[in-house]
Symmetry: C2
């Protein structure tokens, strides 16, 4: 008998594999399938065990998992890529993950040739396992105020690492709790004053490699107080040993300072780095990697929820009819389909961001082009902020879509949310780092103003090269000039070069009277399906928010930045929306025009992109109204367009095909009984409660009888 | 040295105790303090242990906790109220909670006198511990399709309880997993056909008391397959043994059917209940109790987050200045202050709802007034939907406000969210039950239409008694007639009696041309502080949504209700907003005018109410625009009003006083290191990781050495 999913698939003409070509590097799926099937045959990797364990048990399990992965690497001769993939297939970070994604890359980018030659091979053998210790008990966001010191002792040629007070204890450090034997420490460099070697001068935070546990015994080294910081909210990061460490005059050789950029000589002199921003690189990499990962996490949740909502039936449409799959209901479609679209959006835009990051690295290294570093920093920050907000919210929504059973550990979504929500905080708290994007956009606005020929009233032809490059990227169907009905900056000429992601800021050069009379020219709900209309509205919204902040700052006292930190979050989000929508549209346009995709696939993908853009616009309605760009009628048309896309145009078969395109392996889905491909959800739930844990309720007999017998036993004295 | 909180408190003139008088019944705080101090001296109640335990360990702990509570009840001679309070101070439900909040009340309301006399004393002694089993593996929302059967065997005079298939297994039943020895079962009553006693006829779901575990051994009784369904998402409901049970021809005496309303005679005849809605009562009670509980949960989280954000300093305002408490930042205020307002709103409106419920019970019982039951059902549903959505979201937001440390179990907010989010699903999935509120509002609209004298164009004077009664309730300062600038239903006369919560629906009698030209007459941001303006906008928004749905339904095919289930959620939410805002405003007005509160207190409370109403309006901007009620300028003014309320008018001292009014005991705050009253957050975190768990990292030495030594040991063969 075909499963409900297979029955649905028979009618679908979308080819999931072809769609998947846009989401994966060539060969990736095949490798993943191969590795997943190896993992699937080993019970230690069984994700359904984890919800039954407490934090300490989870840590122990995750150490054993990693050990087993090393054995499999040897047994199968896995390449680095394959080994990384096997680690990632665990879904959750391991005590060694921060070693791989921070310790090693930081040494690779901040270490000298000799340092790399010394450390990296040991790292690869996991003989040295490290992590990255920046945050302290009292300081995280404000890196400049970190208190850990690294004082250079000229006599011995060593650095002395100290935590001056309790508050300077390093805290939250992933991998440090039980696993790491080394850590990179952000510490304020102190060098002796040339004239007076007993007095020291601070040179700000620098990076040092500090051994913390014995390679032989794994016991903490002298002067090191170290441990695990304990469980986290919602059981998140349960398999990671976030830890703390306090240093009491810990001595390390001079060679343990990472010296590719700044250096300290044998005699304690400071050599400045060529570019003081160069050390940003590795932080940008971490942020730039977040959106695509979160997109995949959401993709998994949506796949689970969609499958369950097809299987789950509740209520009949007609008195004697059969109960309907709950995916039939508008409220389920309106929650799930936009999430499906969101997961595609962040996978596609996240991959593009990552490609840009790689390209930037080359430019920085080969051409010393620092401008692209600044742009990368601002854009990756905005995307980190928006993708983490949307995906955390989306994961919880997907879980709720499944009703009661969604709250069981058997949904498999719990850990996805518990981990994802932390991404709103780590790699920079979203409200703190949004300010960096906003500052960079404001800088563009003032650079535009000071470099533009006719700053407030403009008539010449639209000519900025950056502008036109972004134009062509998004609007595949209609020309953008017809989008807004009144004044537009068709005429601006400026010397300032805007990066493509910010080209919409050109609009802020308009005189207020012009800017605030710009109107969308949408007249029908069908108009809202035009990419040009969608993107110009998203751009207008972002420009409006930047302009409002710029005006607000210029008309009030200078020190009031802190009273705008709410707005900067909205700005970073709106900025990200423009990039994500543009990139998604571009991807669809390219795939359709180049015949990469057959028509049916292209239609499905375009519809998904419409759902993403329309949903994003609906969420942005307040700004679209307040700026005057959209009126009540257009807003109602927008909602109607979204309704139509979600309730009418998207069919459940296409939705299934679009989740099939994710090509999740059986192994990846195994943590979710509700998302079972074969639809045997109830059997699976039954088996889960009967097997393994079966009979264990007996453990509780004593305690229960203590309660029910309480008053019987004390009958003589009882009042009840 | 004064703590940072005390330093802030010295400047504040608001008297928290007086504010608290609006939140508590007389004497409650004192009782709570007394009981909390008893619990505080017993380590078994220490909440900081719980995050370290897995589900089974938590269950065991919670059984022991309850046992200890029984002992304390005896030792201190606690009254029922005191004992209930001691249970609630555990913060999380216990395996016996469902006994107290479902099993006992259902017997009390659905059982005959004899049944009550038999069961209730045993229940009070916890000799019989029960729960409420309605949901099945395959059916929750759709109660009519429940499959468990109760067939009456005339020969033996017994009911035979069966689960016909795997899918009919009862599932999710709180208290059933390990604790309960009885359960109330919702089962479809089957009675023999009079002529043919071998054929049965179904009479729909009825309630039966079924013993499931032996009173002597606590082992499952014959025919009963029973157990715990395992861990839940985010570790939520960790202390509750949600369970499953499957019945194989389990025989219970006829007397175990709850027979206060429907009855089955000895000979197997069915006696209909007087009112078929009467059995709703206990479900309504459960829903009606949710908003106030969630309000308190949010209150706790906001208290924790506010205290931490006062203590936590990050970044200086000036280059050499001291770092500022993060509460200084707009983004923190804009997140926390509205949540503080929201917690007040749900506590106040929730208490009012509960009072209305009590009053309704009397009316139903004494006067057979079923109309108020319908209204109570619709209103409590709307409030359950909105409060659970807002509070779950708010709890997670409060946690995030605390940055990195907010993600530690030491914030103490994790379990609050993990538990609260389930309230969006239990007692009826929010998207399913919203439809009940929407249906009831639509019914009012059509009743209004068919009973009004001049259905589409109206000119007489506003006279509906329900309308005018709601008028006086909310608008304490200005007359409501000046609120909207164009047509208003100043003229409608109708026979249909609208309950106060729905009086705004009168507006839907206007002709569309009139309704859609109604405009708010707000002209300054100060105008938005007028209760009349606030409430009329909220009312217009709710009326607009109902009207749109009603139009939409009347212009399309009849079976398309399922394509509106997204809208009904928005309707229930908007309906709840009107009630909550009105009730909050009424409470403030009453407290101010009656001199219950001194001026300073009244000012603080009024400001909080403004923040709630303005925040709710900002969230409702899309509908306010789409309906044409508010234009772009008014929206910008609204945002400015909210900004001013949050960033300027509310000061941190008042916010502290308003959280002090919650009067949380030290015991209640003990699960949160971050929320420490004495501000010793970092010391507390340090102690938490050093004590108790200290040195336990040694447990992992072996595993870690296995990893770091992996390639050393196999050096001969290693490729690396
Ligand atoms: C799961 C997890 C893993 C981590 N792993 C590591 C690791 O491996 N290594 C490491 O070094 N660190 C790690 N961290 C720490 C992390 O980098 C910091 O917690 C994060 O950068 C946030 O900083 P904070 O905790 O100081 O937040 P805070 O700055 O204290 O934030 C508290 C509140 O203040 C607000 N706020 C602060 N400053 C401002 C401002 N200027 N304007 C407006 N609002 C402001 C924030 O928005 C927030 O609401 C980890 C954290 C987590 C949660
Ligand atoms: C923590 C917890 C404790 C519980 N305790 C108990 C207990 O003690 N006793 C007990 O009997 N039960 C209990 N339950 C069960 C609970 O009452 C049900 O899970 C709840 O009523 C939701 O029903 P469901 O699971 O069937 O959801 P479903 O109806 O299966 O919902 C699945 C999805 O379909 C959607 N949907 C379903 N029907 C419609 C429709 N007509 N229109 C639009 N959308 C629809 C829902 O919105 C949801 O998105 C508990 C549940 C939880 C989570």
């Amino acid at each position: 008998m075909p499963t409900p999913l297979d029955a649905i698939r028979t009618d679908v003409t979308i080819d999931p594999y072809k769609i998947g070509n846009l989401l994966f590097d060539p060969g990736y799926r095949e490798t993943r399938t191969r590795i997943a099937s190896i993992l699937g045959s080993d019970r230690i990797f069984d994700k359904s065990l984890r919800p039954h364990l407490n934090h300490r048990q989870l840590l122990r399990l995750s150490l054993r998992i990693f050990k087993r992965l090393l054995e499999l690497r040897d047994a199968h001769g896995w390449s680095d890529l394959e080994f990384t993939l096997a680690c990632r297939l665990q879904d959750e970070s391991l005590p060694t993950s921060l070693h791989d994604i921070t310790f090693v890359p930081v040494i690779a980018s901040q270490g000298t040739q000799e340092q790399q030659a010394y450390w990296l091979p040991r790292c690869k053998r996991y003989e040295v396992v490290g992590c990255y210790a920046q945050t302290e008990l009292a300081h995280g966001s404000n890196v400049q105020e970190l208190e850990t010191t690294a004082r250079f002792d000229v006599t011995s040629g060593e650095f002395v690492i100290s935590s001056p007070r309790l508050e300077s204890t390093k805290w939250w450090i992933g991998g440090l709790g039980v696993m790491a034997n080394h850590t990179i420490v952000q510490a304020v460099l102190h060098l002796p004053l040339p004239g007076n070697p007993l007095e020291y001068k601070p040179y700000g935070p620098h990076l040092f490699i500090v051994p913390v546990r014995s390679l032989k015994t794994h016991e903490p080294l002298p002067g090191i107080t170290i441990g695990d910081i304990g469980p986290k909210a919602y059981g998140g990061f349960g398999t990671v040993d976030n830890g703390y460490v306090r240093f009491r005059e810990v001595r390390i050789p001079r060679e343990n300072m990472l010296m590719r950029h700044a250096q300290v000589t044998l005699t304690g002199e400071y050599v400045r780095p060529a570019h003081d921003k160069l050390s940003y690189g590795s932080m940008v990499a971490l942020r730039a990697g977040i959106p695509v990962n979160l997109g995949w996490s959401l993709a998994r949740a949506v796949t689970i929820a969609l499958r369950y909502c097809i299987h789950r039936r509740q209520f009949a449409a007609t008195p004697d009819g059969p109960e309907q799959p709950v995916i039939t209901y508008a409220s389920v479609k309106h929650r799930l389909y936009p999430l499906l679209a969101t997961s595609y959006a962040y996978i596609i835009a996240g991959r593009e961001l990552w490609a840009m990051y790689q390209k930037m690295l080359e430019e920085v290294v080969q051409q010393g082009n620092m401008e692209s570093l600044a742009e990368m920093h601002s854009l990756s920050t905005a995307l980190k902020v928006k993708s983490s907000t949307d995906c955390a919210k989306g994961l919880e929504e997907a879980r709720k879509c499944m009703g009661g059973h969604g709250y069981s550990h058997m949904s498999g979504i719990g850990p996805l949310f518990a981990n994802a929500t932390a991404s709103q905080t780590y790699e920079g708290d979203n409200y703190v780092i949004s300010q960096q994007t906003a500052r960079s956009l404001l800088k563009h606005v003032s650079a535009l103003r000071s470099s533009s020929s006719t700053p407030t009233s403009l008539t010449a032809s639209r000519s900025s090269s950056s502008r036109s490059s972004s134009r062509s990227s998004g609007s595949s169907t209609s020309s953008r000039s017809s989008i807004s009905s009144r004044s537009s900056p068709s005429s601006i000429s400026t010397e300032h070069h805007l990066p493509p992601s910010s080209s919409y800021l050109l609009n802020t050069l308009l005189a207020p009277a012009q800017f605030y009379t710009q109107r969308s020219s949408v007249k029908t709900s069908g108009d809202w399906y035009s990419p040009a209309h969608q993107l110009s509205a998203l751009e207008h919204r972002a420009a409006y928010l930047v302009l409002e902040l710029s005006t607000s700052l210029s008309t009030s006292t200078p020190q009031n930045w802190s009273s705008h930190t709410h707005t900067t979050h909205r700005i970073a989000s709106a900025h990200a929306d423009v990039f994500v929508a543009t990139t998604f549209r571009k991807c669809v346009a390219r795939a359709s025009s180049s015949n990469l995709l057959p028509d049916d696939c292209a239609y499905g993908l375009r519809l998904l992109c419409d759902i993403f853009c329309l949903g994003t616009l609906v969420a942005g309605l307040p700004e679209l109204f307040e700026s005057g760009f959209v009126d009540a009628t257009q807003a109602r048309l927008l909602r109607r367009a979204l309704d139509e896309a979600v309730l009418v145009r998207m069919d459940v078969g296409s939705a299934v095909a679009l989740t099939d395109a994710f090509a999740f392996t059986e192994f990846e889905m195994a943590g979710s009984v509700l998302g079972r491909e074969d639809g045997k959800v109830y059997e699976g739930m039954w088996r889960a409660v009967r097997e393994g844990e079966s009979g264990k309720e007996r453990e509780f007999l004593e305690e229960c009888l203590e309660i029910t017998g309480h008053y019987r036993r004390r009958r003589g004295s009882a009042k009840l």
